[in-house]
Amino acid sequence: MLFNTIDFAIFMPIVFLLYWFVFKKNIKIQNLFLLITSYFFYACWDWRFLGLIFVSSLVDYLVGLSLAKTEEKAKRKTLLITSLVVNLGILGFFKYYNFFIESFQEVFSLFGRSLESSSLNILLPVGISFYTFQTLSYTIDVYRKRIEPTNNILSFFTFVSFFPQLVAGPIERASNLLPQFERKRQFDYAKSVDGLRLILLGLFKKMVIADNCALAVNEIFTNYSEYNGSTLFFGAFFFAFQIYGDFSGYSDIAIGTARLLGFDLMQNFNSPYLSRNLGEFWRRWHISLSTWFRDYVYIPLGGNQVSKAKWIRNIFIVFLLSGFWHGANWTFIIWGFIHALFFLPLIFQNKNGHFKDVADPGKLLPSLKSVVQIGSTFLIVLVAWVFFRAENVTHAFLYLQEMFSVSLFSFPMVSKGLVLFLMVYMIFEWLQRDKKHLLEIDFIRSKPLRIAVYYCLAFIIFYFAGDTQPFIYFQF
């Protein structure tokens, strides 16, 4: 069931009404209801993989309880390793088995040997990377004694499978989300209205921005050899907005849906294309994943509290892992590598922590310096996106070779309307950069005017929606 379908438009109001009117009185029944609806939501894709969520949830629930019962270091470590092996084992098998087999086969063939092993026809369970990381964070936090393990199996299972963020995040931390399942939720009008705004904004980003860009992107990336450099540049430009609209749109709908049910999920995107360096970009793009890697990989490796060489190593490990998390393809790993590479200047100049506030606060127009910084950061991100979108590494290099040829200065064969539309969208993002989201428009005092904005957005969604495309991040 996709968020941008009629099915969800029917499913969600039913869940909302039952949740607040029928099951409101008893928190256990309310959680059980959420668990059932979450499993139903997932089963709409493929019920066969429900067993995997169940196993992941059960293992981490039991490991959590066992960790609470023992102080013995070796035993605690064994329990943690059990959880890691089960969760990463399942993830590894379903997501990376074929990648490793094929990569080994290629390496062996380089040395003139053949490896007798065949790849399997494995279906990738939707959202496996997301819920695996979510449930792992719980076990690691319990192991580190950052949180108390829960003995409420219902809350825990619902935490792992909570339908708004089950298949594409945000990857929630147990410390934030789990307690919300254990306390009574109160209906909050303001929170619900903001949730509805986020849903509207998410639908706009997905159906108008992402789906319209997707048409151009598919055409340009598939037939890249027929286009000049400037068109390929815009192909990558459109992809940058496709993936942004797609993923941040999904996150907005997820957060908005959770809000309607009385939950607060973490912010996952914060105007990433207004970032002035890559450090800022990663504080604004897929925040739940980048903070996951920060907390569970980067900091345990020593973070920046080590020698410069080790710091650089840590950066590369995190970015390469982040690339690999996205998919079993060298293109994602190179994508991560590019980000790590362009992160290095920030380390050497000690600028990693710069730009924690919005650009040019309080000003209507950006300064020239900000324009240059934002533009150059976007250019790096855009080049890296080519690898992310390409079918394989050769495809990406050929695309870039053609893109950075003399024809880069010829006239692009792209829809001017789409380019203009994206520019206008970015102007709105700039104007709203200090807000939590684009539709935080309480500063508009006139209620009819605010409603007019919502209708305007709804009309744009209905009228200008592109052909429905699957959410890109579902494949991860």
Partner: protein
């Protein structure tokens, strides 16, 4: 809570009204689906020839030029899946049917179900042609509302077309698509050939499913002593040159195999027929009215020949 529900309700009223209006529009204004259904259901007693297929036969075979009483039940983007459903639905009510004309185009045999245009057209077949379409599940809301099927901009365009033309029906009383009346210049048709050929390439050489369906149609015809005429409709050579030669060869071989295996099947291949010129085409892969007349007369000649044999 009450306040929120009231506000949502009020906000949704205009949207619901637009939805209802769109639904009324689709249900009341006749289009090709509802019109063809009405025609074939009411005038089926004396039909000798039935034409099925996609836009190529819809625009390319004009029953007016056939001496036998013919009805063109083809439609734009109509796949073999729907050809079979339509044929099975109507066969029992076509007592005089002698010939079934079925087009086999570049996409016909490799077309996967529920892709491209099927995604929305299937609901129109279900609702307006009274077909039981197994692709649509009972719990699919679009089964019950045509306004949900098409995007709003498409609905609005249909409405504007209706206001301008006074009708959404794009065919005559015998089912022929009578709106293709123009032609392209040689440069334009070459350019469009490229994009059309690209659009039609689905990369699949798997003909098994649709071949099975054609065979089932042929078997049904065999039982009822109906002759099947498989036709590869004429296309512009510039378009043909841009298609995969291997796939084209495989399509032609498949048609010949149907002909040799089944005594009630004949095959006419117009793909490389030089009698069709630039002025016969509306676009690279569709005949215009002039081309349709030429093609229909050739088919008529063939059928008359068959009748005298």
């Amino acid at each position: 809570m009450k306040k929120l529900l009231t506000h949502i309700g009020l906000f949704l009223i205009p949207i619901l009204m637009v939805w209802i209006l769109a639904e009324v529009f689709y249900r009341t204004v006749p289009n090709n689906y509802s019109y063809k259904h009405k025609q074939i259901s009411n005038n089926n007693n004396d039909i000798d020839v039935l034409v099925l297929g996609d836009s190529h036969t819809f625009y390319g075979i004009n029953p007016e030029w056939l001496s036998l009483k013919t009805y063109n039940l083809a439609n734009v983007s109509q796949t073999i899946y729907f050809d079979k459903l339509l044929f099975e639905k109507h066969i029992n009510h076509l007592p005089k049917l002698k010939y079934l004309i079925l087009s086999v185009e570049y996409t016909t045999l490799s077309q996967a179900d529920n892709t491209q245009e099927d995604i929305w057209r299937k609901y129109f077949y279900h609702t307006q042609m009274d077909l039981d379409v197994p692709l649509i599940s009972w719990y699919n809301p679009k089964k019950y509302s045509l306004a949900l099927v098409r995007k709003f901009d498409k609905t609005w365009k249909s409405y504007k077309d209706f206001r301008k033309e006074g009708s959404l029906i794009g065919c005559d009383s015998r089912g022929w698509g009578n709106t293709y009346l123009s032609t392209m210049d040689s440069l334009e048709i070459q350019r469009v050939s490229n994009t059309t050929a690209k659009k039609h390439e689905d990369g699949s050489m798997d003909f098994s499913l649709n071949s099975k369906r054609i065979q089932e149609i042929i078997d049904l015809c065999k039982e009822r002593h109906i002759e099947v005429l498989l036709v590869n409709m004429p296309v512009f050579t510039g378009y043909l040159d841009r298609l995969s030669p291997e796939k084209l060869q495989k399509i032609e071989t498949a048609c010949e195999a149907f002909e040799s295996k089944n005594p009630n099947v004949s095959h006419i291949n117009f793909l490389r027929d030089l009698r069709f010129e630039l002025t016969d085409f509306e676009d690279p892969d569709h005949l215009n009215a002039q081309g349709a007349k030429k093609c229909s007369l050739l088919i008529n000649e063939y059928l008359e020949q068959k009748q005298t044999d």
